[in-house]
């Protein structure tokens, strides 16, 4: 009984960590620009598929991973520079539609270059399951969790302790006042898109050995990450992390105890409930606790 529960929990927190990273990406761009970036899922896909591609070129794993993150970050910068920045002054809705367009383009490019097949990225340190209290966990899950924890702390440090991080928060709070401080808000926007893209890519690379990846892999991961961000209160970084965990665990429990065919529905049911009862998200958007 307990072993079974633990098994579902392990798979839940692994998924949850991935959604948390994707949700953080949504939050960072939302904070800087008030845009919901619907191409966030495609950053996740590019991370996984990019790694597959660079591995195929014969590059060693660590290099392939770094190259995939760099490639995705470039796409993030490109999205801001080529699609968001030129639309300066357009309404937020217009910008959101632009990101939807960008996501379709990125998916299309991936399909043309890499085909429709599913690909596996080899696990970082083997496939030998580790036994814990009767349940098992894959080494790759530990990678997912470890890297996520590290990134969350790194981001907290960046936003809480560095002037550049504070400048990004200041820009999100009051763009005009940020300009008066001499903050280059255009650069802040640019950096935010790059940072979100990198986070998305890392999430995609971390789960690719567990879930397989193809050109469409970003759609579901993007949506779940979006649910995580909304659950936590859009723009609240730590909320997105908690939201990701909730979505991941609920999904794993739903699949385990209920019907696995409906596991994807769990996230959407959760989000409907939250939006209905607490539209600002479970953790709202309060105080200084923002990543």
């Amino acid at each position: 009984m307990f072993a079974e529960f633990l098994q579902f929990l392990f798979s839940g927190i692994t998924l949850g960590a991935t959604y948390a990273l994707v949700g953080l990406g949504f939050s960072i761009i939302y904070n800087a620009s008030h845009v919901i970036n619907f191409a966030q899922g495609e950053f996740v896909m590019l991370g996984g598929m990019g790694t597959v591609f660079f591995l195929g070129l014969g590059l060693p794993m660590p290099i392939a991973i770094l190259a995939a993150i760099a490639l995705t970050t470039l796409f993030g910068f490109g999205l801001e520079k080529l699609a968001i920045a030129p639309a300066r002054g357009a309404s937020v809705v217009t910008l959101i539609i632009i990101t939807i367009g960008a996501s379709i383009v990125m998916r299309g490019l991936a399909q043309v270059f890499w085909g429709k097949e599913f690909h596996a990225v080899p696990a970082f340190s083997g496939d030998e399951p580790i036994n814990i209290a009767g349940a098992t966990i894959l080494p790759q899950s530990l990678w997912v969790l470890g890297v996520t924890v590290l990134l969350v702390f790194a981001l907290r440090y960046f936003f809480d302790k560095t002037m550049m991080g504070k400048a990004i928060i200041a820009t999100s709070l009051n763009r005009d006042a940020a300009l008066l401080m001499g903050i280059n808000v255009k650069l802040v926007l640019f950096i935010s898109f790059g940072l979100s893209a990198a986070l998305g890519a890392i999430a995609g690379i971390l789960v690719a050995p567990i879930t397989l990846t193809n050109f469409e892999a970003g759609i579901m991961l993007g949506l779940k990450g979006f649910c995580a961000a909304i659950l936590g209160g859009l723009g609240n970084g730590m909320g997105a992390v908690a939201g990701g965990m909730i979505v991941g665990i609920a999904e794993a429990m739903g699949a385990g105890y209920w019907v696995s065919e409906y596991k994807d529905a769990v996230a959407f049911i959760l989000i409907l409930l939250v939006l209905f009862f607490k539209p600002s998200g479970l953790f709202g958007k309060t105080g200084t606790e923002r990543v």
Partner: protein, 234 residues
């Protein structure tokens, strides 16, 4: 120091500034008074670069800065205390003040200036770790002022610093303005509180519907019959 020539500005198709000419000399305290919607805030925002000019020019120390982006103007030592304070509500009081020195790389100078601000505004020191949004209106005004002063401006643009403050705080703000003037800061002060502003000002301008309609020494404007009737409530 600051020279504005035939400046116009639009919000979409609505014209807010209709050819403004105005000058502020080094060391002066110049007041701009005018009623609601006259275009005072628009003029200040055009000077600091937050608002685009649609015609005319703004020059600072002989250089045309009409098209310079707002965040670069801080580097020229121009600072603005915007209308409605515009503090970063979710950030701490201290972070707000420090952001005022964002372009300053000299850490020692930042530390010295921060202590100076705390000495000048003790209430901010007391609340240094609180979120700025939790401060009262008056305290937020002090914060906006401290934040602007952190860049050691040579030209300080103030947009209605006394708005919504109690009489005691208004006096305090004006005392600070006079003190800054003593220290050699050039000040361009926008106020609805025309009496107080013209009293401390060397010179003043009166603005109506996007145009300068009257100019003179602070004293002359205070005694001007039309100004009295329209803005001083006498």
């Amino acid at each position: 120091m600051l020279k504005i020539q035939n400046l116009t500005s639009h919000y979409g198709r609505i014209q807010a500034l209709h050819g403004v000419d105005l000058e502020v000399n080094e060391g002066e305290l110049v007041a701009l008074v005018g009623g609601n919607g006259a275009g005072k805030t628009t003029l200040l925002r055009t000077i600091s670069g937050l608002q685009d000019a649609s015609g005319g020019s703004v020059s600072f120390e002989g250089n045309d800065i009409t098209d310079m982006v707002a965040n670069k103007r801080v580097g020229l030592d121009i600072a603005q205390v915007p209308e409605g304070r515009q503090v970063f509500t979710a950030l701490s009081v201290e972070d707000n003040i420090r952001l005022g020195a964002f372009i300053q790389k000299d850490k020692a100078r930042i530390a010295t200036d921060l202590e100076k601000m705390y000495a000048r505004f003790p209430i901010l020191k007391e609340k240094r770790n609180q979120a700025a949004g939790t401060l009262s209106g008056g305290q937020q005004q002090m914060l906006a002022m401290a934040r602007a002063l952190m860049s050691r401006p040579r030209l300080l643009l103030l947009d209605e610093p006394s708005m919504g403050l109690s009489p005691v705080l208004v006096m305090e703000i004006f005392a600070i303005i006079e003190e800054l003037k003593e220290q050699g800061v050039t000040i361009f002060l926008v106020e609805q509180n025309a009496t107080a502003a013209l009293r401390v000002a060397d010179r003043g301008y009166v603005m109506e519907t996007g145009k300068i309609t009257l100019t003179g020494s602070g004293e002359n404007l205070l005694n001007d019959e039309t100004v009295k009737a329209a803005y001083l409530g006498i």
